[in-house]
């Protein structure tokens, strides 16, 4: 039976409210499937879902978030063959199994950061006075991600995992030409104890969806990695409207990353209290 590739918003799999879809082709040009062509309204709905999920996901213990992300890795592993087939078809990759294995490793690597980042990025601050003073990292909030146009699975998990592991929630725009692994990843997330709305996946045209997310007043940060350098300026200008944190970095996805991407979607909170009798 052929699969229907839909959007993933608030834990559900709706079609685009616009009723649009677009054909997805394999690297050799054959038709693979039709994907939902998400609309501006779908993007706004996804932001609402991500905001709704933010309180409980950011308030969950780091241990709990880590456990859920490990569970996602387990489910990825269980569907490795399906992902390899999709990656192979859409990217024409010779060794799709290796890319899937790398994606699972990447996810596990980020999962482990959940209960370590506060110790690496936080601090006890030796202020010159009788105060207890400490700094802790906290998630920035709702993060929009324009996923890499290439590397439909490894690149995708490499931009989602570092955002959500610290407690952010995400609205992800999948690669336009290679969206199928993103929809399958959404199916994995939906069956992995990840609360609804923590990750929302839109397929469609980044040129149509990215401006909505960049200009949205309830989005706190945006990752423009999947946007061509020529397209960044206009989106960054939109992002300035509510002082969004803007990040982009096209990495060689096969190389192990450092923690910079994860640290870029954090706020540092500093708390003071007098010390005395």
């Amino acid at each position: 039976m052929r699969k229907t590739y839909k959007l993933y918003i608030g834990g559900a799999f709706p079609r685009s409210e616009s009723g649009r879809s677009y054909p997805v082709h394999a690297s050799d040009g054959t038709l693979l499937a039709y994907a939902a062509q998400g609309s501006r309204k779908d993007a706004r709905d996804a932001v609402v879902a991500a905001r709704k999920a933010f309180g409980s996901w950011s308030g969950a213990t780091a241990y709990n978030r880590g456990q859920i992300l490990y569970r996602v890795a387990e489910m990825l592993e269980g569907r490795a063959a399906q992902f390899a087939a999709e990656v192979s078809a859409t990217e024409g990759t010779a060794d799709a199994e290796a890319e899937v294995a790398a994606a699972i490793d990447r996810w596990v690597w980020y999962a482990g950061w959940s209960d370590k980042v506060a110790q690496v990025a936080g601090a006890a601050n030796p202020v010159a006075g009788p105060y207890f003073n400490f700094s802790v990292p906290e998630p920035a909030g709702v993060v929009a991600i324009i996923a890499p146009a290439e590397s439909s699975l490894l690149g995708l998990v490499s931009v989602i995992a570092p955002v959500i592991v610290t407690g952010n929630t995400a609205v992800v725009v999948a690669s336009e030409r290679q969206p199928l692994p993103a929809v399958s990843l959404a199916e994995v997330l939906a069956t992995s104890d990840l609360p609804a709305g923590v990750v929302n996946v839109l397929t469609g045209r980044p040129a149509e969806l990215a401006p909505v997310l960049a200009g949205h007043m309830d989005v706190n940060a945006i990752d423009l990695t999947g946007i061509d350098p020529a397209g960044r300026q206009a989106l960054e200008q939109l992002a300035a409207g509510n002082i969004k944190r803007v990040f982009y970095r096209n990495e060689p996805w096969a190389t192990m990353p450092g923690p910079q991407r994860l640290l870029s979607f954090l706020e540092i909170k500093t708390v003071w209290h007098p010390a005395g009798t």
């Binding site: 700094s135 300035a240 002082i243």
Partner: protein, 504 residues
């Protein structure tokens, strides 16, 4: 009944006076003799030039502007207005210093210069304090005890990082960014210059600093200190001027890093101007902080914290506790004690060591405060100020408290940046969190309660970069400072403050 209670009140007053303890109701306002700091400790030059490539010089087109003493409206000096050609020259000097001297210099050598600057700030602190109060209007006790010591401490703190960047936790071999363009506000002129320059220089960058138009003098005196400390020419450049100078600086193609402290409105313009250039940007913008008082808080301490939170520096503080959220059951008591306390504040000559409230920094700022407070009245909030004699000349605004404020009022939503407090109430901790976070800003917050678990719970829930619990408006070079949401991004202070000036 009324008579009896008045008698009891009088008796209580007498008892309080006899004990010499906490003032009871209607505490007496003690008369203080003037205790002015000497203006002669600093020589204010009639004219100031730009500081470019280690030397002071006029603007290329010879333009100048006046900086005035806001307490008297008397012009203090004429200051060079830097145009695009001057900004070009300053950026070129900074680039050359970066490539030839400061960038290649070992961190241990950079550190020595920064220690020297810190020491000279300490040695000349009295001069700096008087000059700051003259140009800004803030009380001398604040410039003397807060601004100048903290500025020196900031240089001292970051000096020590200059040769330890490898161990700052940003991975191996962190690199400076190059030339930093830094635009600072008028509320803490020298301190903001220190917050910008010290970490940038420690990390190995060179700087072009644009002080605020109304308060350029201490930055120029700091330039003289840099000169006397032997800082190589071009490492620090100061270009004075108005908004157009700042705009020319942040959009200059030779600048690698932009740092701005000021209003959210201008911050958005700068973020848009920098868009697509790849320049690293950090912003420290406006705030509308909630100062939350619970019914179990020690009320007298909380009142001191409320006063410090909103009336420190005439409320010209981005992290000012401008929204008082007080638990309904103690709201009347807190407001009453607050009013009593405010009647004891002394407003007047910034150079008088007894002064609590100085001058508003400029006529434009005074107009904005007046406009917003009028809106507060027009929207139905109740306005109160203590009996307060304002000086005849200069820019002044009395401490003002609005009660009956709702969340939709402009005075509860917009940053007033003046000595104006809006009082709102709440019943439950959850309601306090919701109201505190109901703002596009997220710079700071205050909590007053005796319950430790509640402090920690609230500190987690508040979407703000700095949370003061049972204290307010504390600053330290080791303590990261900066906002969530529209209060900006990046941190200043501490190890985190280095990240703004390294390629991490």
């Amino acid at each position: 009944m009324a008579k009896a209670s008045r008698a009891a009140e009088a008796a209580g007053q007498a008892a309080a006076l006899a004990r010499g303890s906490e003032p009871g109701p209607a505490a007496p306002v003690w008369q203080y003799a003037p205790a002015p700091e000497s203006r002669d400790v600093v020589s204010v030059e009639p004219e100031y030039g730009l500081f470019v490539a280690g030397a002071f010089r006029p603007a290329a087109d010879g333009r100048t502007f006046a900086t005035v003493n806001p307490a008297t409206e008397e012009p203090l000096a004429q200051v060079a207005a830097a145009g695009p050609a001057d900004v070009d020259a300053a950026v070129a000097a900074a680039r050359s210093a970066y490539e030839q001297v400061w960038g290649p210099m070992p961190g241990s050598e950079r550190a020595k210069y920064l220690y020297r600057v810190a020491r000279q700030l300490q040695e000349r602190s009295r001069e700096f304090a008087v000059l700051e109060s003259l140009d800004n209007g803030k009380p001398i006790k604040e410039s003397r005890d807060v601004d100048i010591p903290l500025a020196a401490a900031h240089f001292f703190y970051y000096a020590g990082w200059a040769d330890k960047l490898e161990y700052a936790g940003f991975g191996p071999g962190p690199r400076p960014l190059g030339v930093a363009g830094q635009v600072i506000p008028w509320n803490f002129p020298l301190l903001m210059a220190a917050w910008k320059l010290a970490p940038a220089l420690a990390a190995g960058n060179t700087c072009v600093l644009k002080p605020a138009e109304t308060t350029p003098l201490t930055a120029l005196l700091l330039a003289e200190v840099c000169q006397q400390a032997g800082l190589p020419p071009g490492v620090v450049n100061v270009v004075t001027g108005a908004g157009d100078t700042g705009a020319a600086l942040v959009s200059h193609p030779g600048v690698n890093k932009v740092a701005f402290t000021g209003s959210t409105e201008v911050g958005k313009e700068i973020a848009a101007a920098v868009a697509g250039t790849g320049k690293k940007l950090t912003l420290e913008l406006g705030g509308k902080a909630a100062n939350i008082v619970f019914d179990d808080a020690p009320i007298e301490q909380a009142v001191e914290g409320i006063v410090n939170g909103i009336f420190f520096n005439q409320g010209h503080v981005c992290c000012a506790g401008s929204r008082l959220l007080v638990q309904e059951s103690v709201a009347d008591t807190v407001v009453e004690r607050l009013r009593q306390r405010l009647t004891t504040l002394r407003l007047g000559d910034p150079l008088d060591k007894n002064t609590d409230i100085g001058a508003i920094n400029s006529s434009q700022q005074l107009a904005r405060i007046s406009e917003l407070t009028q809106a507060g009245e027009a929207e139905g909030a109740e306005r109160w100020s203590p009996p307060c004699q304002l000086p005849d000349r200069g820019y002044w605004f009395p401490p003002t408290v609005f009660t009956g404020v709702s969340q939709s009022h402009r005075i509860a939503r917009e940053e007033i940046f003046g000595p104006v407090l809006s009082v709102l109430t709440f019943r439950t901790p959850d309601e306090a969190v919701t109201k505190a976070n109901n703002t596009p800003y997220g710079l700071s917050a205050g909590i007053w309660t005796d319950k430790g678990s509640r402090i920690l719970w609230l500190a987690q829930k508040l979407r703000a970069g700095v949370v003061w619990a049972n204290t307010y408006n504390r600053f330290d070079p080791a303590s990261p400072f900066g906002g969530y949401k529209e209060s900006g991004y990046g941190r200043e202070g501490g190890r985190h403050g280095l990240a703004a000036y390294l390629d991490v």
